[in-house]
Amino acid sequence: MKNAVIGNNKQKANLIVLGAVPRLLYLLQQSSSSLELRTECAVVLGSLAMGTENNIKSLVDCHIIPALLQGLLCSDLIFIEACLRCLRTVFISPVTPVQLLYTDPTVIPHLMSLLSRSRHTKEYITQIFAHCCKTPEHQTVLFNHSAIQNIAPLLISPSDKVRMQALKCFSVLAYENTQVSMTLVNVLVDGEQLSQVFVRMMQRDKPIEMQLTAAKCLTYMCRAGAIRTDDNCIILKTLPCLVRMCSKERLLEERVEGAETLAYLMEPDVELQRIASFTDHLVSMLADYFKYPSSVSAITDIKRLDHDLKHAHELRQAAFKLYASLGSNDEDIRKKITETENMMDRIVSGLSESSIKVRLAAVRCLHSLSRSVQQLRTSFHDHAVWKPLMKLLQNAPDEVLVMASSTLCNLLLEFSPSKEPILDSGVIELLCSLTQSDSPALRVNGIWALMNMAFQADQKVKVEIVRALGTEQLFRLLSDPDTNVLMKTLGLLRNLLSTRPHIDQIMSSHGKQIMQAVTLILEGEHSIEVKEQTLCILANIADGNTAKELIMTNDDMLQKIKYYMGHSNVKLQLAATFCISNLIWNEEDGSQERQDKLKDMGFVDILHKLTQASDPNLCDRAKTAMQQYLA
């Protein structure tokens, strides 16, 4: 059987159809069969597993995994190696559920104990771990069974394969795992720090796969906080190594992984972004990622075209991610990116690509670039990026929506020339529907965009916002558990309640509810920022002609203002004083009566006291208010 199936997928499938697997497994599990026979069974099964994905499925369906794991308990090394080889082949297949490795809690410790038995056990077991560690729980299980201590010595194994698999293990163990990363930095291998071992594995004459995986390990350790971003092994070794992985000379897969890892490495650190932006012309190097499939490959080589097509999406999304990361903080880098050949066109077409991954990465890139005032005013408008963005917002999964709406927030800023056309495209309804989303991030973005939109907007727009949103939704947002949502909603209110005619108009229709909401917030347990924002709204209301009366007739509200004027926080004092100052302002109808009423309520004494305040702003504000009485 062994000789018949080697290298022949058809024969393998035939044997499986004929039901050879259960028979082989039976023989394998019989402890009465000779070791040679059991070993041969494992070898044949291993050979069958080398075939198509369907073969693997059939094998897994026959419960091959528990049988082989059971086989590992045997004492014979050759038999164990045969079982491990087969297990390895099964587990590295994408169709095998990795959870099967963890169902029996004794399996992992047993594998750890087998690790040092031979060169082959080292290779197969590390390869199984590297493929089966997919979640934080898996990481924890392996970590708790001393994976690090057991695998670290293999990094200096004389066998290339063992070194490589051990390295891969560390990269999957350390990914987004602080506990593992923190342990890794303190591990010594043959008296040398692990990070130095990784640095050596990144040397340029090492195999590319090894360089790349070592760079991943260091990246994950750095992101987990175990290595500082200004450490030489990051700045002078990992970063340049990852930039090299993006070069044209590398394979397409390597370029994708290199760019993604680099984007992840420098995401939070502006200094790394700056260094990367000038290393080896990275920004223009990435432009090549968009040239697949190239026109040459289409004609000359069908195989090549197929290969290029397969990777084209991956390449594009990786490039977008890296651009997004590069441009997230530094204005100069954003400029450099937008000046790259056809960059804005590429983003625009990326936004409407069929692949979600590409769309998401493109919108991330756009978002990163939209933080630049200059780009908003120029290239964003020139390329009408709002059009595909709006289209994207119509029907997209949440993760895309978050990014897209966040970008939209920036595009709706007052100085953005795209604001007008976006308004005309019916964005308000869309944003209002976002505020009803279950995702806090989407609610924030929706209300944030509305807030930006309402800033210094026309009466018409404001009315439209209030109408579309509805007071009910507005109040729901004011009691939102997410502080960010609350803050932006208050911001929206404040932007709506600016310039006197707008204030009066809105207060005349929604005054009652707004006053209720303000009372609610001022009475509730909220942060200083929230209360300050609310007092500012009140001050805006006090600025209206008719709206003033809503406060003046509300003694409870006046008492609250009084309270905040005497608050320990200067910001709140300032906002409350501002409010009073608006109420007693001369040259307005009925100012005398309001002054008198407030005097009776003891506001003058408080104002007098505040003129002595240490804070110069507060002091000035109080003096201005006092002058209204003197005039």
């Binding site: 040397q203 340029r204 004459d205 070794k237 260094i275 000038f278 290393t279 080896d280 012309h281």
Partner: protein
């Protein structure tokens, strides 16, 4: 018993000129010594004074660092031919440039009004192509008023009243705008700007003729120019406004950028290019070519048994007749054993006319024979000191020695394995060791280090050889050789093909051991002195040697008359005769000649001559190929192909 020194002088004198009376010689020699000693002392004193004058220890330490680093980075560069840049040139600069700190610091001392006040300086030497990849760094100590600094390269003769990059054949990276200038007044956007505290590097890749700059250890990527770097560029730096100061690092300090890592990538690239050189359909051809090379190498050196085994295994043909190989092998063995006289006889007998047609070779052989006489190994002097008539009879084949091959096998293995890299399988250290050991054994048999073979040997010396080894008694000269072969074949079958060299090496080694043994052993018999002695310490032998010396002198004069003066011959003769001037020739300034290693050169010369006379190549094709490859690599350096630095032949010899 050592000869009185006066007697030695006399010997020497007697050789050189018979007319000088002996009693004057001592004074003459002493005078000579004194003169030499005085002149030597004077020289040393001068050297000492010189080093005291420049003796800043920090500087010399840096100098040492620099040399070490340059040697490590650019091993292929022959600095005698193409020196590496080590500092800025005080001669090749514009007048607005000032140099200090061993010509490493550059400062601007002009007006700095506009670009007409720009000033540059070049390094002392251009970048040699054999570097493959060259790198230097410049630290910006101060950006001065405006920081108009340019770092780069320029050819000899480019105007120095400019910044590098502005003119033809110059290239530069400028600090004020971060642009790269390639032989043009307008730069291209290239990298970030640089200023005080930054370290800027410039890397020239002579393999693909590109160049890139670095900033604070980060590569900024290839310059915009492609494959247009002209050869012989000098590191160059240019400044333009007052206060600008930069420091160069040509290797005096570790570089900020990891240039060695970059080089390792290219080394790996070139090695894999060589390894993956396409041979297409000719795979079979290649294999047979390689097999022929190996086979011819074995045949050339007379490794007959190995060659036969190899040809059997690979089914290749051997050009030369087997007996011819064996003849050469025998002659070579004799030379390597120091029995040059016999070797000459054998050559004349087997290849009549050969030496007559090669008077130079004959002279060389005779000179060596003289040296071996001093050594006490040549048969002409050895026969005097051999006591046992039996062994004298068995001479020159020394059949009683042959069986010991089997007995010493274990020993051979170990010594052979110790010296696998030496082309002839013999390393000086090993020889010394075994020599000493044997001396010890023969002088004091209680020595704990005595190996079975040496015990056997002392037995065979003191007793009848028939007792010690049964079959040695029946062997005569002819069979002894063939027996040696049998031993050797058996041996080579026991080891893998690849270790053929080891086997052959030890083979010779053994011969040498025998020679040494006998001379020393005889010396002991004469006068229980354990140290080596002239001609084995035998009076008759010494006389024979002096007589031979005279003949040699006469031969030299005859050759001189026939072919004109020959400086090499004269030197050879002088060196050989000089041995007699010392009480212990082995430990004297010319004692090197007595080292058995020295036999190898003459041995291979004789071998080549014999092969040539048989219309066979005097050099094995393997060595020719090796020599050609080495020569090619050197030629690559001269025609400025940078990859030569990573394609060195010795990288592939293990």
């Amino acid at each position: 018993m050592a000869l009185p020194s006066c007697q030695q002088c006399a010997l020497r004198r007697a050789l050189c000129s018979t007319t000088v009376p002996t009693r004057h010689c001592r004074a003459a020699v002493i005078r000579g010594y004194l003169t030499a000693a005085v002149s030597l002392l004077t020289k040393m004193a001068e050297l000492g004074a010189g080093s005291l004058l420049t003796g800043d220890p920090a500087f010399s330490y840096q100098e040492h660092e620099l040399n070490e680093r340059l040697k490590r980075l650019y091993p292929a560069v022959n600095e005698e031919e193409t020196p590496l840049p080590r500092s800025w040139s005080p001669k090749d600069k514009y007048s607005y440039i000032g140099l200090s700190q061993n010509n490493l610091r550059v400062h601007y001392k002009g007006h700095g009004k506009n670009h007409k006040d720009a000033a540059s300086v070049r390094a002392t030497h251009p970048i040699p192509a054999a570097c493959g990849i060259y790198y230097f760094e410049v630290k910006i100590v101060s950006k001065g008023r405006d920081g108009y600094m340019g770092i780069g390269l320029s050819a000899q003769g480019v105007n120095m009243n400019r910044l590098p990059g502005w003119d033809k054949h110059s290239y530069g990276y400028h600090g004020d705008d971060g642009h790269s200038f390639c032989s043009s007044g307008t730069g291209q956007p290239y990298g970030p700007t640089f200023t005080t505290g930054d370290v800027i590097g410039c890397c020239v890749n002579l393999i693909n003729n590109t160049c890139f700059y670095t900033k604070n250890g980060h590569s900024l990527g290839n310059n915009l120019m492609k494959n247009d770097l002209r050869p012989n560029l000098y590191p160059t730096v240019g400044l333009q406004t007052p206060g600008e100061i930069v420091d160069a690092n040509f290797g005096q300090q570790p570089f900020v950028f990891d240039i060695e890592d970059y080089m390792s990538e290219w080394r790996a690239k070139i090695h894999s290019m060589i390894a993956r050189f396409p041979i297409g359909e000719r795979l079979g051809d290649w294999q047979s070519v390689l097999q022929n090379m190996v086979s011819s190498y074995l045949v050339h050196h007379g490794y007959c048994a190995t060659a036969m085994a190899f040809s059997r295994a690979t089914e290749t043909m051997i050009q030369e007749d087997q007996t011819s190989i064996k003849n050469r092998q025998r002659i070579q063995k004799l030379v390597l054993a120091g029995r040059v006289g016999e070797a000459i006889d054998a050559t004349q007998q087997l290849y009549p006319g050969l030496l007559e047609h090669n008077p130079n070779l004959l002279f060389m052989l005779k000179c060596r024979q003289f040296v071996e006489m001093v050594n006490g190994t040549d048969s002409e002097v050895r026969c005097f000191s051999v006591h046992s008539p039996k062994s004298q009879d068995s001479y020159p084949g020394s059949p009683n020695l042959s069986p010991r091959h089997g007995a010493t096998n274990a020993h051979l293995h170990s010594t052979g394995a110790d010296s696998p890299t030496c082309s002839n399988g013999v390393t000086p250290t090993n020889k010394n060791k075994s020599h000493n050991k044997y001396t010890g054994v023969s002088s004091a048999s209680s020595s704990p280090s005595s190996s079975p073979s040496s015990v056997n040997y002392s037995e065979s010396n003191s007793t009848d050889s028939t007792k010690s080894q049964p079959h040695s008694a029946t062997s005569n000269q002819e069979t002894s050789d063939s027996e040696m072969e049998i031993e050797a074949e058996h041996y080579s079958n026991g080891v893998t093909e690849s270790s053929a060299r080891i086997m052959n090496g030890t083979y010779k080694h053994q011969e040498i051991l025998q020679a040494d043994d006998s001379s020393v052993g005889n010396g002991v018999a004469d006068d229980s002195c354990s140290s080596r002695q002239l001609c084995g310490g035998n009076q008759a032998a010494t006389e024979r040697m002096i007589q031979f010396g005279r003949e040699l002198q006469a031969l030299s004069e005859q050759l001189c008359r026939q072919y004109g003066k020959n400086a090499t011959h004269k030197k050879m003769l002088q060196d050989a005769f000089s041995l007699l001037a010392y009480s212990d020739p082995w430990n004297c300034p010319v004692g090197q000649q007595l080292d058995p290693m020295q036999r190898e050169a003459i041995c291979s010369a004789l071998n080549s001559a014999i092969l040539e006379s048989q219309n066979l190549p005097k050099q094995p094709p393997l060595m020719l190929a090796l020599g050609q490859a080495t020569e090619c690599v050197q030629l690559m350096a001269r025609v400025r192909s940078g990859s030569c630095s990573f394609a060195r032949v010795d990288n592939f010899l293990h």
